[in-house]
Subunit: 240 residues, 2 copies
């Protein structure tokens, strides 16, 4: 938690209140902060800044001298289409994509997504994971998250409307590498949409449907990475 | 587990045996493989290839038609100096760096590394995490792992001997970005050594000691990533 994000209703005219217990616990036990200390805070959907602890109980921390004068960092011009992963890794993936600044996240079904994943209670907690990611990455603007439970209708009817520039699908058996793809169309820059499979990746049928929508299969070398590692390794290109 | 790596003594003249219980369990319950099926295997420190299941019990899988005719992928020309992280994330970090193909890993003390981390039983299990990483990344050659419990003597007396080209220290408050660093010395290409802090990063004193050894502080933008995400986002540059 590199900043503490507060909902709009907790901030007004120079005073703010931290009422979420996870945030209070973080201030008290991780930061070991005391009355008079300055905290890095932000307003969800608004600016970043600082505030000073005025009083502190187990239920509420009152902040004064609230200054929210810094814009959040720019979002990446990027949509990530991610095959719904195992619930266990969903939290970290949503956190990481949020912290990296992905603007739009689409969780889509895939052949290798088990049906039970769509019933996971973790899917009810996406806002919580986004908040964690924003507080990690020091941002205030949540990405959009869209759930698409049917792969083929999504790809055939909706995918094109999400693609603003070029698009790729990460695929260990893609004919070209990501760098070859970038060199072939240097004027386009980085793609605006990236499809990343869950463990086991996309099957050929899915890759063919994506290719029909001008979403080219690219690989990042012979090594197969965990989904989490692959997402960060690929999206790291947008940070340079 | 994208391939099953066997120790040298388990492979001889066309026949091999899987005797590790985690591997047997993977073959039987994840791959659902049966007698006659072909498996992707490798020999630790040797080649990759395939073999056919000849017989299978709960204690041993016998493989025949063992063909080990593929070289493992090239290692990255890269040494990662990583501040010893929380034991909980050590496993995934070692796995990911191994799967990415890092040649040398140095786990070093840092101001923000808690002393207790050096007593963690996880440090006894590094070989196990390396094996997981190799089986994930489809490689057979383990990275070297060196433990350096004293930061200053390591940096002042040993670091220079590890640097073959240029070197960087990832630091959110570095004066230049990673891409600026690369543009300033295009002939050198990617650095041969990267220092990455644990949660909270390096302190200024550490950055100054590293800089004195020509290890330049670079940032990757205003967003702060989890150590795991940062390692993958930074090392992803080597995959392009």
């Amino acid at each position: 938690m590199n900043c503490i994000l507060l909902p709009v209703e907790n901030v007004s005219s120079g005073v703010a209140h931290i009422t979420a217990l996870t945030q209070i616990s973080h201030v008290q036990t991780v930061l070991n902060a005391a009355v008079g200390d300055t905290l890095k805070i932000g307003q969800l959907g608004g600016n970043l800044g600082t505030a000073v602890i005025d009083s502190m109980t187990a239920e509420c921390i009152q902040l004064i001298n609230v200054k929210l004068d810094m814009c959040p960092p720019a979002k990446l011009d990027l949509t990530v289409v991610l095959a719904l992963p195992r619930p266990k890794v969903l939290r970290r993936l949503i956190m990481d994509m949020t912290a990296l600044g992905v603007r739009d996240i689409i969780l889509v079904n895939s052949y290798r997504t088990q049906k039970s994943y769509w019933q996971s209670p973790m899917l009810e907690r996406l806002d919580e994971f986004v908040l964690e990611g924003l507080q990690q990455g020091i941002d205030t603007i949540a990405p959009t998250i869209t759930l698409e439970k049917r792969f083929k209708p999504f790809v055939e009817d909706k995918l094109a409307s999400w693609i603003k520039g070029s698009a790729i699908a990460a695929h260990p058996y893609g004919a070209q590498s990501f760098s070859q793809f970038l060199r072939q169309q240097p004027s386009l820059g980085l793609p605006s949409l990236v499809c990343i499979g869950a463990e086991g990746g996309w099957i050929d049928y899915e890759i063919a449907l994506l290719a029909a929508q001008h979403c080219d299969a690219v690989h990042i070398g012979p090594r197969i990475l965990r989904t989490e590692a692959a997402v960060n390794a690929i999206l790291g290109q947008w940070l340079l």
